[in-house]
Symmetry: C2
Subunit: 194 residues, 2 copies
Amino acid sequence: MTLPPIVQAFVLHFGEMGGRWGVNRTVGQIYALLFLSDRPLNAEEITEALGVSRSNVSMGIKELEAWRLVRKRHLPGDRREYLEAPDDIWQILRTLAEERRKREIDPTLSLLRDILMETPASAEERHAQAKMRQMHDLIELLTGWADDVQRLDNDSLAQLLALGAGVSKLLEVKSKIAVFASGKRRNSTQEDAS
Amino acid sequence: MTLPPIVQAFVLHFGEMGGRWGVNRTVGQIYALLFLSDRPLNAEEITEALGVSRSNVSMGIKELEAWRLVRKRHLPGDRREYLEAPDDIWQILRTLAEERRKREIDPTLSLLRDILMETPASAEERHAQAKMRQMHDLIELLTGWADDVQRLDNDSLAQLLALGAGVSKLLEVKSKIAVFASGKRRNSTQEDAS
DNA sequence: CTGAGATTTCAGCAATGACTGAAATTACAG
DNA sequence: CTGTAATTTCAGTCATTGCTGAAATCTCAG
């Protein structure tokens, strides 16, 4: 692997962290490499840079495509496929959130829905179902929120994040705004979001 | 495993999902069992309910403690340790968020900080470093936001989630509030009066 | 203290997941 | 079409992780 030291450090780190993020080492490394690259790379270049087998790279690419984290491109006059990682980091964030949700949360939500349709046959089952209801409702709240936020444009999202817990303060005065807004006829636009 | 059908279904599901969530099957099952249980269970009961070895349960418990997802309790007149899952689902959410961040994000943030101190030696490295800077800044924004939100009480958090993208609307009127409240600045967010 | 019950540790086996090289398939220039 | 370069698939092997039973350690009643 002949890469600039800082690139190498990053690539190796992503390889190691891959396990915790639900992908294998090679997949992590390929993504790291593409993310840092200033141009699309073909499979052969990736193979060489990482020192793994060509077939392993092929499988890794396939998985990254399933995650929608890389795109295939074609360069004119070159039969090989070139790969690149989208560079809008906000979009990457959205994609990651969507895919992780699809893999890690939706199946559970689905199961919970099914189980909550059943009629409990004992006190024990009634209690278990109540807990599952709690979990179900919380997950729905979270995913609903995520759906909403998912649709915000980059700037709004950045603003929202920068605000942090300031939202809490904003919520506190929300009712007060409502008072003003109802009294005033300022603008007939948004005002109260509830 | 002799458990009520709905409990069994949930436990088995958590076992299967465990892999995607970064824990092994047994750990997922133990947690599911404790989460649904209406009373603390001892290791022997867990062993029996799940049909795995006693030592496996011991290791699983250890891991769940490392995640701070279960507590050990003692019942009077019984030398055995009893385990229970905290039942405030909001607290569970906070714990999960903290632990996953600690395992999945902090190490990367730390590496990025280190690499960003280096001086790039080529155009390629300069580009790579710029990308890492982007990632670093985004992660800091996200974790900073998470820190803030982490401190909200259950009700505020629920309110925030229920609001969803409504926050966006709230942000739009924020500048108007700023006009009213121009006497003092609450926090360091950029007050953009667009 | 002592010893019986309870828990943890750990070496070895089992299961799962990752990686490779070879063969099959696909894509396309001539 | 044909032949060659590029990519994918897959069976076998290697590596990692998970699980077990036995032994070691801990804990506390008597």
